[in-house]
């Protein structure tokens, strides 16, 4: 999806110190943004956007000691939606994102990855990114990852085909 042809829907920006004051902010924010982008009145995709954003926000919440500003930019081209999250990181959270996406890259199948991590959860360690594995496995969502050392941010980009 070429950046130049994308039409912006919303550019949002959150102070993380305030965001992590309450867990409900994840649910409220994901629901709000999903309602805003529901331009095709497709309930399935509204739920999908809400679910994906909620999982990402809950991961961000997990590393609540990180300061800075989270940005979520949503654009569309025709029926395709692109969600870009830029997340401030410290060394620990950057390692977490890196390891998460290393796992995703290595996995031959999103469902296998999800169920393997779910089983590890039963054994006592639940990966904080389990929600991301779940949306990838259940909805076939692809998430791309990038790290910007200069600004100490990671970006997660999701493309949704809203047909």
């Amino acid at each position: 999806m070429g950046e130049t042809n994308n039409i912006p829907m919303i550019d949002s920006n959150f102070c993380l110190t305030t965001f992590v004051k309450n867990w409900k902010h994840c649910d409220q924010t994901s629901n709000y943004l999903a309602q805003l982008v529901n331009f095709s009145k497709n309930q399935y995709h509204t739920r999908l956007v809400s679910t994906i954003l909620n999982e990402i926000l809950e991961v961000i919440f997990h590393y609540s000691e990180v300061k800075g500003r989270l940005t979520i930019k949503i654009t569309h081209r025709d029926a395709n939606i692109k969600i870009e999250c830029k997340i401030p990181v410290n060394q620990q959270s950057q390692q977490f994102y890196q390891q998460t996406f290393d796992k995703i890259t290595r996995a031959t199948n999103d469902s296998v990855l999800y169920f393997r991590e779910l089983e590890r959860g039963f054994d006592g360690y639940l990966d904080p990114a389990i929600g991301l594995y779940e949306v990838m496995a259940d909805y076939g969502v692809k998430i791309s990852y990038d790290y910007f050392a200069q600004t100490q941010e990671v970006s997660l980009t999701i493309f949704l085909d809203n047909e």
Partner: protein
């Protein structure tokens, strides 16, 4: 008087605190109504979102009151911003302080409408809000065709102690002016 010319094509009306900016806010949302059409429904959805987001930043006993007050205030301001925006982006930002919430909204207004709009705003803030609200209600009662405006803002001032300020910034290039609307809501 409540109007000051700041030079460089900038005019301030009412209580506008320049230290609160879009970039320093706790949540900032930027919309693109010229590219992605927004329904009126979006005003109340946004208002309810901000209400739920910021109410829970304060003690629980205040939640119920804050939910309705913030929702009312944001809905009122965001509807105006969308109604009068002539082009370009619209911003809504909120900053939470222990004793108050600060709302900042921006839009673009046609240059030709600035004089009437600023007169209306000056009139609203230069009198007792409760008395002026009653006057406008009576005007509406006497003349059903009357479209006396500003009742929402007057109610927010009279009933909730909100204060308002506006900054008009001449854009120089296009025939438009950036209007920054600031509302401060005291939290008791």
């Amino acid at each position: 008087m409540n109007k000051t010319n700041q030079g460089g094509g900038t005019v301030i009306i009412g209580e506008y605190q320049k230290q609160y900016t879009l970039d320093s806010s706790h949540v900032r949302l930027q919309f693109f109504p010229h590219l992605y059409t927004m329904n009126w429904d979006q005003c109340s959805i946004l208002a309810d979102y901000f209400a739920s987001y910021f109410a829970i930043c304060f003690p629980e006993k205040q939640h119920k009151q804050l939910l309705s007050t913030i929702s009312y205030l944001v809905n009122e301001l965001f509807e105006n911003v969308l109604k009068f925006n002539v082009c370009g982006e619209v911003n809504v930002a909120v900053t939470a302080k222990p004793q108050e919430l600060i709302f900042l909204l921006t839009n673009q207004l046609e240059q030709s409408k600035v004089e009437n709009f600023s007169s209306l705003l000056q009139n609203l803030i230069s009198q007792d809000p409760l008395e002026l609200m009653m006057e406008k209600v009576e005007e509406n009662f006497a003349d059903e065709a009357s479209t006396a405006s500003g009742l929402g803002l007057l109610s927010l001032m009279a009933d909730y102690g909100a204060t308002f300020g506006w900054q008009f910034v001449d854009n120089n290039i296009a025939d438009t002016v950036t209007v920054k609307t600031m509302a401060r809501l005291p939290i008791e």
